[in-house]
């Protein structure tokens, strides 16, 4: 498609009305969810179900839907965009007309996304992220894929030429670097940290418990359970068994939750190799495609755990500057083999891995992390004091886990600083993570010393980048000072900008 097509003001694809209408309904339902659910519950509990819904309710709903449709139509008609010279210009607003113009050089990222409605009617949305304010994100909700790609290319064209100073005639080479297989996706889901989902579900249930209390009581689960097992006489034992089964069910739920979450989020994950970097696309219901540009990448972390490592699965997490929080969590690639991880790290951090010279924190690290667990144990035992004696047995698994966490935590923690890179390794008993940062992307450095560290002549160094912070824990204070001086020297003497 010819770039000149965007010079005259354009509307979105006609299907855009449907997308906006769908989003309007979604928003309306979401906002009035509480009110709606109250009405619904009242409807369920009322005796004469049919007569309590009268025509006025239908009329009201109809009017709201009609309003939302007209609103969507007007929004569509009033939404026009164009690219003139070096500016992207957007006119929108039904009553309050707004004109936004963004210089191409200020555009940070262009994403192509596809939610469920958009997938059904075969359009994509294109959002433009600018430097600075989070709120200035511009989204065009319905474009054909060809159009979106052409516009994306046009918007990003100038910058590539500016920054790389290359000839404009560079041919665009695109090849598929990696595509996740269904098998790997499932394995990733199975080897997730289910404990996290377990806690998430537990807190969620606690949150809604109060609202659903009456409803649950009306179901009389407990008494049905008792009848089923005939355990009425041994009340205490039945309570324990009941709780065990509850926990077991929750665990299965947690397992399914993290499995489904992984599959939905990373469905058809594809990594494309492009001239200016990588492009990641993924998602089942919300398809998204993100560009990964080396100069924007701030921190990169390799994450894996014992099970994943045995299965040959690694996750690469990137953080990019000037990207909003919601988008940030999508910048990751799962299911990579060790070789692929090395290849990618080598691509973004040349000569880094071979130069790693692991240096350890002081043994005080062990003491410090042990104290955390001891405090946790004391707190738990304080609670157990009021519970039946058998609860004290929970101490045994916790002690084992604490010991392993402290041991492997120390074993896995290291730092390495060379001429260009800072590498920090860490983890616990199960997880392992390794973070990489280019020295010229450091924003500020903090030397931290608690009173306890001071007595032992130790300190920690905290290093801030534009999107994350890294910590070198518990090292000798002289070493810490040297590191601070060296990092500052690197930042201040280098002409390289941080993005």
């Amino acid at each position: 498609m010819n770039a000149s097509n965007f010079e005259t003001p354009l509307r979105q694809s006609k299907k855009g009305v449907i997308v906006i209408f769908g989003l309007n309904i979604y928003k309306a339902v979401k906002q009035s969810l509480i009110v709606l659910s109250i009405f619904f519950l009242r409807y369920l509990t009322s005796d004469n179900k049919l007569s309590s819904v009268n025509n006025y309710v239908y009329l009201g709903i109809g009017l709201v839907v009609l309003y939302l449709f007209i609103h969507a139509l007007l929004k569509y008609l009033n939404f026009k965009f164009q690219v003139l010279d070096d500016y992207f210009i957007l006119n929108h607003g039904i009553l309050n007309k707004e004109k936004t113009s963004v210089s191409k050089s200020k555009i940070q990222n262009v994403y192509i996304k596809q939610n469920l409605i958009q997938q059904l009617i075969n359009v994509v949305s294109l959002s433009i992220e600018t430097a600075g304010d989070d709120k200035t994100e511009i989204e065009i909700q319905a474009l054909s894929l060809d159009q979106a790609n052409a516009l994306k290319k046009l918007l990003l064209q100038n910058r590539v030429v500016n920054t790389s100073l290359k000839d404009q005639e560079v041919t665009e080479t695109t090849s598929v670097y990696y595509r996740v297989s269904i098998k790997k996706l499932l394995l990733e889901g199975v080897s997730e940290n289910h404990f996290k989902s377990f806690l998430f579900i537990l807190f969620f249930l606690f949150g809604v418990y109060n609202d659903l209390k009456d409803f649950l009581q009306s179901l009389e689960i407990k008494s049905k359970f008792d009848q089923y097992l005939n355990l009425n006489e041994t009340e205490f034992f039945s309570l324990i068994l009941f709780n065990f089964i509850l926990v077991f069910l929750l665990l299965i739920l947690a397992f399914l939750f993290s499995l489904i979450k992984t599959v939905v989020e990373n469905f058809d994950l594809t990594v494309l190799n492009k001239n200016e970097g990588l492009e990641i696309s993924k998602g089942l219901f919300n398809k998204i495609s993100l560009g990964l540009i080396p100069s924007r990448i701030q921190n990169t972390t390799i994450k894996t755990n014992r099970f994943k490592k045995a299965l040959g699965l690694h996750k690469l997490v990137f953080t990019q500057a000037m990207v909003n929080k919601k988008q940030q969590k999508n910048f990751n690639i799962i299911g990579l083999s060790q070789i692929q991880v090395n290849e990618l790290i080598n691509r973004f951090y040349p000569n880094c891995v071979s130069n790693i010279e692991k240096r350890k924190p002081e043994p005080y690290f062990i003491l410090r992390s042990s104290i955390n667990f001891i405090l946790l144990l004391l707190l738990l035992n304080l609670i157990f004091y009021f519970l039946p004696n058998s609860f004290y047995f929970i101490n045994i698994p916790i002690l084992i886990v604490s010991f392993l966490s402290v041991y492997y935590g120390f074993k896995k923690t290291y730092y390495s600083i060379d001429n260009n890179y800072l590498v920090i390794g860490g983890g616990k008993f199960i997880e392992t993570h390794t973070s990489f940062l280019e020295l010229h992307k450091i924003q500020a450095v903090t030397l931290q010393q608690t009173v306890f560290q001071k007595r032992k002549q130790l300190a920690s160094v905290e290093i801030f980048s534009a999107s994350d912070k890294l910590m070198i824990p518990h090292i000798k204070v002289e070493t810490a000072k040297q590191i601070v001086d060296y990092l500052l020297f690197k930042v201040e003497s280098s002409p390289k900008d941080w993005m």
Binding site: Q443, E462, V491, E492
Partner: protein, 172 residues
């Protein structure tokens, strides 16, 4: 013109050799004023509860425990702030600005000039009365690494602000 000579770590400029400057002593009054406000409003709430909760056990026991606890907590906080006040120091070098604070956990943050995004001077009502200012220096990103030097004399804050703004404008 690329050079990559070995760097002698010992020859690098050292943060620790610096003579750090203390912030204005009058800022301590503002800190104390702020904690007094917090504690007296808490005490006010507990006293008001005496009239709401008419149970004897609250008026005879719980209330006094709370009161003594609060006063003890206030005294501890006062001592920590008093001793920690001396730790609040700052300095500028050719290429960066340094701020250190904290008694129990001492942090020394250094922000290179070439990473500053923008600068801000904030002045609360009390600070205006005492002609003090808070200088906030922001780097990029949301992960922290910003400096906020509280209790600078007004002129000093403005001088630093002007100096840094000049560097920022020359940078481009």
């Amino acid at each position: 013109m690329f050079s990559n000579n070995q760097i002698e770590i010992d020859s690098l400029p050292k943060v620790e050799d610096l003579k750090l400057k203390a912030i204005d002593k009058r800022y301590f009054n503002i800190i104390i004023f702020n904690i007094i406000i917090t504690f007296s409003s808490l005490i006010g709430v507990f006293t008001a509860l005496r009239f709401v909760i008419k149970k004897a056990v609250y008026n005879t026991h719980v209330y006094w425990f709370l009161l003594v606890g609060l006063i003890l907590f206030f005294l501890i906080q006062f001592i920590v702030y008093k001793l920690g006040f001396k730790m609040r120091r700052y300095a500028m070098r050719e290429e960066d600005i340094i701020y250190t604070e904290g008694l129990l956990t001492n942090t020394t943050t250094t922000l290179p000039f070439n990473r500053i995004q923008h600068i801000e001077i904030a002045r609360s009502f009390l600070a205006r009365k005492m002609s003090l200012s808070t200088l906030k220096i922001y780097s990029a990103g949301e992960s922290g690494g910003d400096l906020s030097i509280k209790g600078l004399p007004k002129e000093e804050a403005e001088t630093i602000n002007a100096f840094l703004t000049k560097i920022l404008n020359e940078r481009v």
